[in-house]
Amino acid sequence: MDAPRTARLVETVLRCYPARWRRRHGEEAAELAALLIRDGTPASSIAWSYLAGAVRERLTPRPGLRLGTVACALLAAACLLGASAGLLAPAAPARAASTSQPRGRAQCQRGSPEPGPSVIPATGRAQVIIWEAGHDRSC
């Protein structure tokens, strides 16, 4: 690999580091790479080393940011839970009513007082389903 190409490769890989790291080590790191290449170290191995270092640098939490990151994660989780609960809540009673009705009928024997639901029309609202007395018996 010719010199301009290796320089470009190292430069590209160094751009993977966070800006804070590049401000501190960027120029020195590029110079170090040039010196190592001059000594005979393959450019590809230098690029891999810098790439792995950039990944580690991005994945390692900074001591100051750790608490903030945890707080953000907790807040995001709480928002997600709240949103899911809000979406599921209106659907739950309707589903419960539709599933409980056939099961109650199937369990009862013929002749026994059927504790099925009676539908009382509520004025101006959705229908209310009330189970009649006897629903606590075995049938």
Partner: protein, 114 residues
């Protein structure tokens, strides 16, 4: 990396989980301040280990955060690093620990007749 104390006082081997690169860098800096390229060359001669530049800067940042080394004013574009007093103490504790393990290993080999 979990470290008990920043100052590397007696008994605390803060370098136990620091990795080979960090220990080699401290050993190299124990001989005097050095910048990145000089560290790589010295470690190559000292231990026969080819330290990658990415590994080197990661270890330097970690050691500096722990207060075991400090960077000196830049010369040209290079930042020389120097071992601090807590760094020297931590290195001493770690090397003592390695010596104990090494001695125990040699003794067992001798007793086992291997």
């Amino acid at each position: 990396m979990i470290v008990g104390r920043r100052d590397g006082r007696a008994g605390q081997d803060v370098l136990r989980r620091a990795g080979e690169a960090s220990v080699l860098i401290l050993i190299s800096l124990a001989g005097g301040p050095r910048h990145g390229y000089a560290l790589i060359q010295d470690i190559r001669e000292l231990a026969g280990v080819e330290l990658g530049p990415g590994t080197l800067y990661g270890a330097l940042d970690r050691l500096e955060r722990l207060g075991l080394i400090e960077s000196l004013p830049a010369e040209d574009r290079r930042h020389p690093y120097r071992i601090t007093a807590p760094g020297a103490a931590a290195l001493r504790v770690h090397l003592d620990s390695l010596e104990r393990v090494s001695a125990a290993g040699r003794l067992r080999l001798r007793l086992g007749g291997i």
